[in-house]
């Protein structure tokens, strides 16, 4: 199995090598991570954690390992499924250990190297520090990082992998976290129909074209700008705050405790949006039609922090006809990146 994977990896490395104009890079392993030419520089300091094949394979093994949870049942992959851009398919709010439910929807794991903050409220500012959170969250994995490392030390398969990746068999917090980062950093989605269209390699039909124009002209792009389809800012798009009966999620305010951040959430990327349903931080909308209805139908909550862009019309929100809405949705579906969703390098 591992051999097969290795072969797939090597083959894809070779293919990549061929397709590149300057096939001069001596280190073929760099293919695991490549900055798409249309993307800005990464936020992650890539030089602080050079991605290697062994580091990536170790990170992947950890990502799929239930040992990270108290009772061995919940792996990262449990809530982050590749075919759905690493979201928790079928769950509005993610279910963790003992069937417990947290208040938030699992976001897509993609293009994390460009993330400035993580979580819907941006509470974590370094991808390397991220994995501590789900591990220690009582409703997710409910384990202690110290115990996890202990379990890996005792598992005969891990120390040799740590040695391959980092030079010695020592299992440390840094190595554990950085190998997980290596795996997550490679989850780059930049090969959707949209990207091919931009590169002149695919064409859009009339609706998709109209949708792209509307997306830009009606202001969606002011928060969800290409190429990442998020500006990483915290905004309120007017979701009513009474979605849960006994809990109000104050979003970014929970982290900064600044009044102006109340009910603001990190603008999510819209890449692979066709597959990341249900939508919003609490998974309240099942379909893209529901999302568009929220933006247009004047049902936005009149929050003090509601983004000014939604206050320009008599009716709160963005004015769109139903035809325009379906055109925007047609455009959003061009953000689906099949090669990413089916990339075998990311499968266990």
């Amino acid at each position: 199995m591992k051999l097969k994977l290795g072969i797939v990896l090597v083959v894809s490395l070779l293919l990549w090598g061929c397709s590149k104009e300057k096939a001069t890079e001596p280190d073929p392993l760099l293919v695991l991570f490549e900055k798409p030419s249309t993307f800005p520089n990464t936020s992650y300091k890539m030089e602080s954690n050079p991605i290697t094949e062994d580091g990536f394979l170790l990170g992947k093994k950890i990502f799929f390992d239930g040992k990270l949870s108290r009772d061995g049942t919940i792996s990262c992959a449990e809530c982050h499924n590749q075919p759905y851009a690493f979201t928790h398919h079928g769950h509005a709010q993610s279910h963790g250990i003992d069937g417990q439910v947290g208040p938030r929807n699992a976001p897509a794991l993609q293009n994390l190297a460009w993330g400035k903050t993580f979580f819907w409220d941006g509470g974590v500012f370094d991808l390397d520090l991220f994995s501590l959170a789900p591990i220690e969250n009582p409703v997710e994995m409910d384990e202690r990082i110290g115990n996890v490392l202990q379990k890996l030390r005792k598992d005969a398969s891990y120390p040799p992998m740590f040695k391959k990746a980092f030079g010695t068999e020592e299992v440390t917090t840094e190595r554990f976290l950085k190998s997980l980062s290596q795996f997550m950093l490679t989850l780059v989605s930049a090969n959707a129909k949209y990207d091919q269209y931009k590169a002149g390699k695919a064409s859009f039909n009339t609706d998709e074209k109209a949708g792209l124009t509307l997306f830009n002209e009606k202001g969606c792009a002011s928060c969800h700008p290409e190429p990442l389809f998020t500006d990483e800012s915290f905004r309120s798009n007017g979701l009513p705050t009474d979605f849960f009966r006994n809990f109000v999620d104050t979003g970014r305010y929970r982290i900064t405790e600044l009044k102006e951040d109340k009910y603001k959430f990190k603008v999510p990327s819209l890449r692979n949006i066709e597959y990341t349903f249900p939508y919003m931080h609490d998974g309240r909308f099942i379909s893209l039609e529901d999302v568009l209805d929220h933006y247009t139908d004047g049902n936005m909550a009149n929050l003090e922090t509601l983004d000014p862009i939604f206050k320009q019309n008599t009716k709160r929100g963005i004015a769109l006809t139903s035809k325009e809405k379906s055109q925007i949705i047609a455009f959003l579906k061009t953000l689906t990146d099949d090669s990413f969703l089916k990339d075998k390098r990311f499968a266990p």
């Binding site: 300091k45 602080s48 400035k116 903050t117 979580f119 509470g123 974590v124 500012f125 370094d126 390397d128 520090l129 501590l132 959170a133 591990i135 220690e136 969250n137 202690r144 990082i145 110290g146 490392l149 440390t172 917090t173 840094e174 976290l177 950085k178 929970r254 982290i255 900064t256 405790e257 600044l258 951040d261």
Partner: protein, 261 residues
Amino acid sequence: MKKIAFALVLGISVFFAACETSDINPNDKNSVSLYFENLVGTDPIVLNTKTYTNASGEDFTISTFNYFVSNISLKATDGTELKFADKYFLVKESVEASKTITLPDVPAGDYTSVSFMVGVDSAKSVSDVSQRTGVLDPASYGTDNMYWSWNSGYIFFKMEGTSSKSAAANKGYKFHIGGFGGMSAKTANNLRSVTLTMADLAKVRKNIAPEIHLAIDAQKVFKSTLKIADKNEIMNPTLGTAVANNYKDMFAVEHVHNDKM
């Protein structure tokens, strides 16, 4: 020949005598240790079993009493300041060994004050994970967690226990104080610096490794009428500010031992 030898011997002994009288040879080094004795009032904390009464007349017990100490510096009588950069300590009432902090290689001299930060400074709080070893390694905490993973940052000060005045079902209270000022947004900063002047100088000599004995009065956490009845759980930085403002005053130098080794 004999005379020369005699003169030499004399010279050497005079030289040594001179050293003895001026006392401080700046080339000599020794360690200075800080001993943190955690008290309630003047009595050493007894975890779990002893009940105390705070300034608002509330009964309370203490089950956990932890705090980070960093950025220690010693000031000599001549005004020079000796900084111990990149050294982080976690004092826990439950772990006797954690209460002694030893600072190695302190140049001989007379030291008049000691300063430190309660918490983990902002530079370290945003540092690469490779910088987080020892007491800063989140894997080192076990069940006595000192790191907020959901709001990246260390818990600078942690005090837990019970009180009949607590509104919690289990009668517990929890003060977890953190907040280094925020990565991008400006948020509550609960880092506090403490400077303590020593009535007795700490005299570092070749044969003296002073021990600075600090008395930490947990009762001070409740000054300015911080009431368990009002809030039994303080875990967010803005609420934590009032607690940090209280506990920064709980440190005092009790005395300094300058025993010859």
